[in-house]
């Protein structure tokens, strides 16, 4: 029998530690990838994962049974990443996109491929504000639906549609500028 995330969270809130372990197994890599996409360094993303689960433990009794665990945990993650991101941006001046200090990959070819891709991705998304970037990542990379995003951000699905529309418009405009630069 497979328990749903929500059932596991209720069990954990009632004191079943093993239920928490299962939630951790289900979400640790996913949350790390989300954090890694939003934050600059690997260690900051790792800290974010730890903070998210810490907050899950500390807020377990505040979890409302029936509420989507995915929405809840990503809401927590978004807050943690926002907090860590603020500190990180203050500490790191990221002028050079060739800085590879945050990319800890063993295989050289993979390493190079990742740097190139990361640069292209960063270049493409650089016109976005941190919150816009986060929303886009949750939508396009995590594949979360507008209803879930509305839950996470505390707005309506309609508002999410409008925000996504504007973000993509912004990207299209930014891309056009980059394309024009490339042609010169």
């Amino acid at each position: 029998m497979t328990f749903s995330d929500e059932e596991l969270m209720v069990m954990f809130a009632a004191g079943t530690m093993a239920a928490f372990d299962m939630l951790y197994e289900r979400y640790r890599h996913r949350l790390f990838r989300f954090a890694r996409s939003c934050l600059i360094s690997v260690s900051a993303a790792e800290d974010a994962v730890q903070d998210v689960f810490m907050r899950v433990i500390r807020s377990a009794t505040q979890y409302r049974p029936g509420y989507s665990f995915k929405s809840w945990v990503f809401q927590i993650a978004a807050n943690c990443i926002r907090d860590i991101g603020r500190v990180e941006r203050k500490m790191i001046c990221r002028n050079s996109h060739n800085d590879t200090s945050g990319l800890e990959i063993d295989d050289r070819s993979f390493h190079v491929r990742r740097i190139v891709a990361a640069n292209e991705l960063d270049q493409y998304l650089k016109v976005l504000e941190p919150d816009e970037r986060m929303l886009l990542i949750l939508r396009e990379y995590e594949g979360l639906k507008t209803e879930t995003l509305a839950d996470i951000t505390g707005t309506s699905p309609g508002n999410i549609r409008v925000r996504l529309h504007r973000i993509r418009q912004k990207l299209a405009a930014g891309r056009s500028a980059v394309d024009r630069e490339g042609e010169i």
Binding site: M17, A18, A19, F20, D21, M22, Y24, E25, R28, H29, F32, R33, R36, S37, V42, E46, V49, Q50, F53, M54, I57, R58, E104, I105, F110, R113, R114, A117, A118, E120, L121, Y124, L125, L136, I137, E140, Y141, G143, K145, T146, R161, L164, H165, R168, Q169, L171, A172, R175
Partner: protein, 169 residues
Amino acid sequence: MNTTSKTCLLLEDYLDGQLSKPDKDSFTAHLAECDACREQVRVSEKVRELFNQHPQTGLSDDADLRVRMALRREQYGKEPAKDVMNLEETAAWLGVTPGALAERLDEIPAFEIGGRIRFSRKRLEKWIEMKDGDILLQLQQSHLRKDNNLLQFPGGKHGKQQSGNSGAV
């Protein structure tokens, strides 16, 4: 650029592949006419493509272990320590991994009851005072070792057996 129509509102569902066949056909026809929606789809596809080209690794083993340790301390740390603890509880209390603790069992005061290893908190406290924390420090430093067999959470994929035992305290 066209003005937003009701069909434009189907964009997100279209991107999710959630539209019914008639709605999808209708939206596909709309795309041919609507510059704004076409641009939205193009950007969405570009972003997804870039994310896919950007190989993301999961949480590394070392980071995973550090997080698990911190969470374990958070979970167990809040409860007042018991006078008699099992391996998991003792490891959490000492801030080390069960694996590291198990490796040094010959140096740490433990006793056996009913075939199970147990630790007396009072004896551990005396032992720590006596050792001046040196061994404890070594234990804590060794927690980054990748002895995953002993370092899973009780409910983890390798730790279910342990969970049954620890639940019987």
